[in-house]
């Protein structure tokens, strides 16, 4: 049996069928299927980030979408893994973007992204600047601060109170956007582990067929999400 790139093969269809047969035996009411064992985030070997950057990303994601309260946090959903893989890939490299000079990074923000740096380079250069600011302002590296102080530091970063060079000014917006992307994207990109974020909001994922529900007004949709690979929750 030959798997053609980009085409669903009979083999992948069988794999999906086996996977769905396995999950149908899970009792109703269980919030999500048990996904395959993956290394803990501490044991994960980042593709793009170095150890210091990884510590920061884990800590920052844990505050942007924290684990306490209703719904999963960025850590349980493995959002940092998503960000690491995105920065190692085309997004991190700005592979599709027009990056020719001259650059005017301090231009009117309404004219959009104007940095000469790729998103991956912006993370790399901005994290140490923010860490230095945390040490100067709050007395320690970001990941060592208590959660309330971490929130205050991120708020300062968001409001532009942390002095970043103009070519780094989009750092916080990338960090927040990438965190939400990792929370809600299909699990095959490394985040949204177990589709927990989809379960949390009630998005059925890749089901992609709702004709009979169009006129079922104001009623809760009963089915949980499926992923592109056939995972169910």
């Amino acid at each position: 049996m030959v798997d053609l790139p980009g085409r669903p093969s009979r083999r992948s269809f069988l794999k999906a069928t086996v996977a769905s047969a396995a999950v149908t035996s899970i009792p109703i009411g269980m919030p999500h299927a048990k996904a395959a064992e993956l290394p803990s985030l501490d044991a994960y070997k980042p593709v793009y980030f170095d150890a210091a950057e990884w510590s920061f990303i884990l800590a920052a994601c844990a505050r942007l979408i924290p684990s306490d309260g209703e719904g999963p946090g960025a850590i349980e959903t493995r959002v940092p893994v998503f960000i690491d893989l995105q920065l190692a890939g085309d997004f991190g490299k700005a592979a599709d973007w027009y990056m020719e000079g001259p650059h005017t990074p301090d231009a009117n923000p309404l004219l959009g992204f104007q940095s000469p740096l790729t998103p991956a380079e912006i993370y790399r250069k901005a994290i140490p600047v923010f860490q230095d600011w945390c040490k100067t302002t709050h007395g320690d590296a970001f990941e060592k601060l208590d959660p309330e102080t971490q929130d205050a530091a991120l708020t300062s970063l968001e409001k532009g109170e942390v002095k970043l060079a103009p070519e780094l000014r989009d750092f916080f917006s990338f960090l927040l956007q990438n965190t939400k992307e990792g929370y809600f994207a299909d699990p095959m990109y490394g985040g949204n582990h177990g589709m927990q974020a989809w379960v949390h909001v009630g998005f059925p994922g890749a089901r992609g067929s709702y004709t009979e529900w169009v006129h079922n007004y104001n009623a809760e949709y009963p089915l949980g999400p499926v992923s592109i690979s056939g995972e169910r929750a």
């Binding site: 980009g6 085409r7 669903p8 505050r63 942007l64 979408i65 924290p66 306490d68 309260g69 209703e70 719904g71 085309d90 997004f91 700005a94 592979a95 599709d96 973007w97 027009y98 990056m99 020719e100 001259p102 005017t104 231009a107 009117n108 923000p109 309404l110 004219l111 959009g112 992204f113 104007q114 991120l154 968001e158 927040l176 965190t179 939400k180 992307e181 809600f184 994207a185 299909d186 990109y189 974020a197 949390h200 909001v201 009630g202 998005f203 059925p204 994922g205 890749a206 992609g208 067929s209 709702y210 004709t211 529900w213 169009v214 007004y217 104001n218 009623a219 809760e220 949709y221 592109i228």
Partner: protein, 589 residues
Amino acid sequence: MARQDPKKDVVVIGLGWTGSIMSMELAQEGLEVLALERGDDRNTVPDFQYPNIIDELKYGIRYELMQKPRKSTLTIRHGLDDTALPYRHLGSFLPGDGVGGAGAHWNGQNWRPQEPEYRLRSYVEETFGADIIPEGMTIQDWGVTYEELEPYFDQFEKVAGISGKAGNLNGEIIEGGNPFEAPRSSEYPMPPLPHTYDADLFSKAAKAKGLHPFPRPSANASEAYTNPYGMQLGPCNFCGFCERFGCLNYSKSSPQVCILDALKRKPNFSYKTNSEVLKIEKADDGKTVTGVTYFDEKANEEVFQPADLVLLCAYSLHNVHLLLLSGIGQPYDPATGEGVVGKNYAYQMTGGTRLYFKDKQFNPFIGTGSNGISIDDYSISQIDFAKEGFIGGSYITAGQTNGRPIQSMPLPPGTPKWGKAWKEAAGEWYGRSMAIGSHGSNMSYRDCYLDLDPTYTDRHGRPLMRMTFNWKQNDIRMTQFMKARIEEIAQSMNPDMIASGYKKEGSQYDVRPYQSTHNVGGAIMGAERKTSVLNKYLQHWDCHNLFVMGASAYPQNIQYNPTGALGGLAYWSAAAIRKDYLANPRPLV
């Protein structure tokens, strides 16, 4: 040294909606037609097939099917004294790329303009007086009338397979349709789609106010349908992955679903992908073009492709760019108002109000691109411009298109953007809001135009095009008028909260958030060669064997989505070429 290929009767630049239409219509004449598409080949299978296409990150956020700015982009500035900077990654608008063009990944909101929109300047002058047109506004008549175009709208709607309900059949007003639409010669090819809960609530509220709700005309099929080319559509399944995605279900009208497989069976039609046209070549006499030079990516060389007839069918912005690069037609000069190429670039004025209901569940993932109920009570033909102090209008709609959670996570005003409160609000509110949107016109102005950038170049070393554009008071007044109307309707629906987003006094054009891929003008049609690029048949005034399709022909933007109008124009132009031009090639006006 460029390779030279054997001559073709017709070369078509770009294989989106208009390129597919023109290729089919001229292939039916027995002509040898070659289409050159700069992007990749694309078809429903494998490119749009389930489940791979149901991938919000890849297609909806990283824009897999869109133009890559690295390959092609433009620069943007607000005013004549500013320095334009590159549109480095996509935001405000998303030009298509590849076979099918933007026609593969649009929402499918398919409209006909109103009668007065085609003769807007005359309509305003006759009805309200020329003195209400503000200084610097450069609106023009199109040089063609709705009445002339009507049979060709009908033709496009039958090919595309549009679902809807007529409101004006040959002058007779039909209950349940849009009573303010221009007269139609026949009913829509398919009945309206079913609509979602949000649209139902809006419809009832609008009706209670004495307004005239009707199903939004839709290029998402409501039933099984076979079009005049023998192409088949199946009923839409409301998958919620419409705009930014190719249709997995053969339901959304696109060149792929409606034309291309029938076209590819014609032995006198061929197409090449990854073939970006660099220049349209002008003949020595300046009265015709001789063909095009394109870059063949596979062969890594430039090719001169001679042709008797050149049809420029790229995205509107690229049509203008290519005319400027080719030196065809006089470039527009905003200082003098002279010249035509690049003149009257316009955009789309949109806004919306979101309604939050603690006790309602909208299941926002149940959606399709042109779902919903609209009203046209505040459309261009219904507004007293003199009284309201602006020229323009909008249609207003409720109808959810998607609940994809990265892009569509509207939360009540005051919700933090991150942290525990954001996360919990997402869980609580994801399914509990709906929107009412205004889709409005944008007038043309002396200092909103397109020319070549003095600094930035593309991968071929050609100057990028430069867009000079900003919002103007007239159009801001229009959208503020719509805000007031929409908020009245919204409040009557008793939501727990509302949040409005409209351009307001002082709003500047922001290229970052997505607004609309309805970039129009720059190669406008008109009644006089001095003030337009194209005559009423979309034929270039200077070079009679060059025809330019698409929304670049609009002298200002209509209040509707542009595709229905450009489909009708393409069939109108094709008919003129077939019936009149081919037998005796010459300027048709």
